[in-house]
């Protein structure tokens, strides 16, 4: 048996923010700056990343997952600047990532797929079976663990996606639209899982469902046209809107109020 507490667990953190970006710019394609001068500091907790379609949420999350390289500005993860491939390897071991288009191998069983991802994430070989079992149990798929992925429903596939993201016990968990395809009951369970993980992890959830943010997030980050518009608690977001703004809930009114100020949200769609 390994020791329950090791030196790495007891070592003091040497950084103030898990994620820290200043003046971050990321170019997508030849011309478009999808992220355009973003300043952001995120610590432990659940951060809801909100914004209209095309606001640069996916690009931002990809950059945080280190698969896209920042064009300009600086990005620090765990207090270390992101650059070069040597350091990326150590950083990536502490990141969990669920892309928007979660691709998987249909012939793999749930367990095989999560095991494969654990191997890709360099989880120590001896810990893999336990880590896989824990991740699969956390997303409530323990009874389907040995079924092939092609036999699963869309919501279950999504949950496998979340399981592979948490299999390496990440310190930064990046989820791009994780609630798409989940039914209302699953969504409630998912919010509980988020709150649970968010106790000691920096979770970034991109979504355009304002109610997800209200229920599960400790912090809201509102982005439009690649820039940060607002960062604060869900209550602050609700307080930003008044009765004259569009929306069915205080949060939605706050959301449209803040977007109006930037010239967004009023357009054709």
């Amino acid at each position: 048996m390994t020791s329950a507490v090791n030196a790495a667990d007891l070592a003091p953190r040497t950084y103030a923010w898990e994620i820290r970006a200043s003046g971050l710019k990321v170019r997508v394609g030849r011309k478009r700056m999808a992220v355009d001068g973003l300043d952001l500091s995120l610590g432990t907790g659940v951060h809801g990343l909100l914004g209209p379609n095309g606001a640069g949420k996916t690009t931002l999350i990809r950059t945080l997952a280190t698969v896209l390289r920042p064009t300009e500005g600086s990005l620090e993860l765990f207090g270390e600047p992101v650059r070069g491939s040597g350091e990326l390897r150590a950083l990536r071991r502490r990141i969990g990532y669920l892309p928007q288009e979660f691709g998987y191998y249909k012939r793999f069983t749930v367990r095989e797929f999560v095991e494969y991802m654990a191997w890709l994430k360099e989880v120590p070989k001896a810990d893999v079976p336990a880590a896989v079992q824990r991740a699969v149990e956390r997303v409530g798929l323990a009874d389907r663990a040995d079924e092939r992925m092609k036999a699963l429903s869309g919501g279950m596939v999504r949950r496998v996606g979340i399981a592979q993201a948490i299999v390496n016990d990440p310190s930064v968990l990046l989820l791009d639209e994780p609630t798409v395809g989940l039914d209302p009951a699953q969504r409630l369970r998912f919010r509980e899982l988020l709150q649970d993980v968010g106790q000691d992890t920096c979770v970034v959830v991109s979504t355009h469902l304002v109610e997800d943010v209200a229920a599960a997030c400790t912090d809201v980050v509102l982005v439009t046209e690649g820039r940060l518009v607002f960062q604060g608690t869900p209550d602050d977001l609700a307080a930003a809107g008044g009765p004259e703004h569009v929306g069915d809930s205080p949060l939605e009114r706050g959301y449209s109020a803040l977007l109006q100020g930037t010239g967004q949200g009023k357009g054709s769609w």
Binding site: R89, I95, G103, Y105
Partner: protein
């Protein structure tokens, strides 16, 4: 290495709930127990002999757990091979590799059927581009559904690229060896261009995406080597033994580029 073990007194005290132990001894023995199997065994023996209430508690827990343990699914032992295989190639690559091997065999058949009427060997003509197709399949966005996940993991990067390339070569080279042996083409004559093309695909792929690089190189091959050979029906100069040093040079250059740009393979760009 000699390890100091907890004394009988401390183990006994800990088994009784630690009431008689100073707090620092308590912490020390807990930390020691986590790491020391021998002392854990002594502790369990001490509990069994002298602390009936703990024994009773453990038994209650077991009676509650046993029905759950009985119905829990046991992890199946079969399919370990799949797990080991997936470290070398993605499931998406398997049909492509099968196709590549089939093409080799078809070329070999054609070679053998009308060996007399043609000067240029089809196997020799196909050899360099075949593995390129397999390498492209292992990094293609359209063929590998998990490409974005793969790009984001710590293991992504040059080692994984080389692993997949090696598995492509492991499938293709034996097929080509059989072909070369049957048609009497010298091994170096096709193996060196074959490796040069494969590594050049990776080198170019770091900049423009592996799939795109593979398509470009295959097109260049078709235009520069295959078309003239078919038109004049004699082996192009590049494939004669005299061309070997040039192919060797290309191979060395490409290896250099791959090593210099190894960081590029851990980003999304390499998957275009």
């Amino acid at each position: 290495m000699t390890v100091e073990h907890a004394s009988e007194r401390i183990i006994e005290g800990y088994a009784r709930g630690g009431a008689g132990l100073p707090i620092d001894e308590m912490w020390a023995v807990e930390a020691h127990l986590e790491a020391c199997r021998e002392c854990r065994d002594r502790l369990s023996a001490a509990v069994r002999d002298s602390v009936p209430e703990v024994v009773a508690l453990v038994e209650t827990v077991w009676t509650d757990l046993e029905p759950q343990v009985a119905i829990a699914a046991v992890m199946p032992h079969r399919r370990r091979r799949t797990a080991r295989l997936s470290k070398w190639l993605t499931p998406a690559m398997v049909p492509w590799l099968a196709m590549v091997v089939a093409v080799t065999l078809a070329a070999l058949l054609l070679d053998l059927v009308d060996a007399g009427s043609r000067q240029a060997s089809l196997v020799l003509l196909c050899a360099p581009v075949l593995p390129v197709l397999g390498v492209a399949a292992s990094w293609s966005r359209g063929l590998d559904p998990a490409y974005e996940l793969t790009a984001s993991v710590p293991r992504a990067g040059l080692p994984l690229v080389l692993r997949r390339t090696a598995s492509v070569l492991a499938a293709v080279v034996p097929a080509l060896l059989v072909g070369g042996w049957a048609t009497g083409v010298m091994v170096a004559q096709w193996l060196v261009p074959c490796l040069a093309f494969t590594v050049a695909t990776l080198a170019l792929g770091g900049a423009v995406g592996v799939t795109r690089a593979a398509l470009w190189l295959a097109a260049v091959w078709a235009a520069v080597i295959v078309a003239p050979t078919v038109a004049t029906s004699r082996t192009a100069a590049a494939l004669e033994t005299g061309g070997l040093p040039v192919w060797g040079l290309i191979l060395a250059l490409a290896i250099g580029v791959v090593i210099a740009r190894r960081g590029a393979y851990s980003e999304l760009g390499a998957h275009r």
